[in-house]
């Protein structure tokens, strides 16, 4: 996982609420056994026409969206399935941070484990950023993880929440599995005190 420190970029705005993971990456693209290459199918059903050509009305196809590293989307982003293909697809396309007023739990967990930063802001800030992008799609904002702030062009700085553990992992690019592996002794002690409740091998 790449460390996430600070990000300065223009944004793509999809103001829809409750964008579910079936929209982010439709299920028919989940037959892959790799994490790579999913970006071309990001938002596939909204992004491409029936014949496979680009839908010119979808924001991801607009010239000004190219190279954007921040996505701003409506409330409850990433609801639905647990597919980690959703953050993989976003990141493969180039998104490194998503701003919303709330995220679905599993999507949020999955994102943090891949270095994709979920940024929760209040409704007013959300509206303000959205109208900034509407007025001028080249508007850049800064997302700074160390200070946990979004810095707007008018100089305003808005803080966002993240748990300390995920923050450290993101800042340093650490895989959380490393932490769990270090707890092995305690895990074995737990097992000694709590015999297995099930044996799927049926022995």
């Amino acid at each position: 996982m790449e460390p996430f420190t600070t990000l300065n970029s223009h944004l793509v705005s999809i103001p829809t609420e409750n964008i579910d993971t079936d929209q982010i990456i439709p299920a028919r693209f989940l037959k892959t056994i790799s994490k790579k290459g999913l970006g071309q199918n990001l938002f596939s059903d909204w992004r491409y026409n029936e014949d496979g050509s680009d839908n010119p009305n979808f924001i991801l196809n607009a010239p000004e969206s190219q190279g954007a590293k921040i996505l701003i989307a409506g409330d409850n982003f990433g609801c639905g399935s647990s597919r980690e293909h959703a953050p993989w697809a976003l990141m493969d396309w180039g998104v490194q941070a998503v701003i919303s007023t709330s995220f679905a739990d599993i999507f949020r967990n999955n994102s943090l484990k891949n270095g994709l930063l979920p940024v929760i802001v209040d409704e007013d800030t959300h509206k303000q950023i959205q109208s900034l992008v509407e007025e001028d799609p080249t508007t850049k904002i800064t997302v700074d993880l160390a200070s946990q702030t979004v810095q707007l062009p008018d100089g305003r700085s808005v803080s966002f929440p993240i748990d300390g553990f995920s923050k450290t992992c993101m800042l340093e690019g650490i895989d959380q599995l490393g932490y769990l592996l270090k707890q092995e002794e305690k895990m074995l002690a737990y097992e000694a005190a709590h015999p297995a409740r099930v044996n799927t091998l049926g022995e």
């Binding site: 609420e17 079936d22 439709p26 739990d105 300390g164 553990f165």
Partner: protein
Amino acid sequence: MSNQPRTTFDKIWDSHVVVEEPGSPTVLYIDLHLIHEVTSPQAFTGLREKGLRVKRPSQTVATMDHSIPTTPLHIPISDAIAAKQIATLEENCREFGIPLHGMDSPNRGIVHVIGPELGITQPGMTIVCGDSHTSTHGAFGALAFGIGTSEVEHVLATQTLLQSKPKTYAVNVNGRLSPNVAAKDIILALLARIGIGGGTGHVFEYRGEAIRALSMEERMTVCNMSIEGGARAGLVAPDDTTINYIAGRQLAPQGAAWDKAVAYWRTLASDEGATFDKEITLDASTLTPMITYGTNPGMGMGIADIIPDPMSIGDVSERNTLIKALNYMDLQPGRQLLGQPLDVVFIGSCTNSRISDLREAAALMRGRKVSENVRVMVVPGSQDVKKQAEAEGLDQIFKEAGADWREAGCSMCIAMNGDQLQPGQYAISTSNRNFEGRQGKGGRTFLASPLTAAASAVTGVVTDVRSFQ
């Protein structure tokens, strides 16, 4: 702290804490890990890259359900990419010693159907799977939740997970259900009340007279769709219904171990006076059959109600969401859905594909024909369910009615395997998600109970099962 009254959730959580350090999420022990072909390959790749092994293969079990065809088993899988994914799961299970219920297993099926069938889903356990409908297993009084592929790798490697503690949410369902109102209608009614984000960060505990009266299969239907309310998990405290269901199953505890397990399970109900962070109460006696009209499971209404008018909604983004949904569904506000012509009826999925669901659907189709205008697919949740249904002659009833009787799998719930809607088609489906394109690009889904689906299969239009003769 131990003297304070605790909820079922608190009891399970507390007894699975391996490490609790300030500033870090809890390290939680996982009793049972279910895996399937779609969300596991990248996790095994991760293990290989790091030179790690699977910590506890005997607490892990695999099956294939999402991308497999539901055509007769002797027909080879024609989708090369799906075939590769399935072969990859077989290889991974072989290499890491994980028991697999593969294509040739009589126990293969949807992962959330086979866990309970095998007797490995038990009260008081922590159960995870790279699948959001893992909440289904909460029906047994287990803490069961969906995880992503990174977390699948974590559990494979360490049998533990990092989790921050969710909050609790009591869902009281008082009173009794009326005839022809199903467990599915309880959960659709809850979702219509709280919306699809209403449970975010919480674990539901379903309580009350109506929940106690449900069978295990019905409780699974309710818990299954906890995730549709955004909840981390949903559970029902174990009781005699739970214990009787597990008794004698293939991998359930036996003999002295059984007695010990039952004694433990009996301690798991929420204590008198335990408090929840949130609470809601529904009256089961006022519920009617439910149906969804929009593009998320919270957009549901009583089957005879009228589709809401976006112009009556004050909040701008909520209004826009509904306008977008009705556009996609090509439906007019202010009208009923009753009489809406259908193209497809799908009876299946981890929500409603168990034997009692099939019995209910078959009872309505017995001696009748499905409408000429609809394609009706009945897909059992597991090969076990299929065998049982065939022993009871349910397959004959479906076939004689003109429905398609398939092999077990997820099928048109997720449309990964070629079972899918065509653009613009309308389907009534017993599954759990009506998102845009969920059952095929451009397809339009109405979620409902097996009873409503079966009655509508016969008439070819959305039908109120209460007036179905």
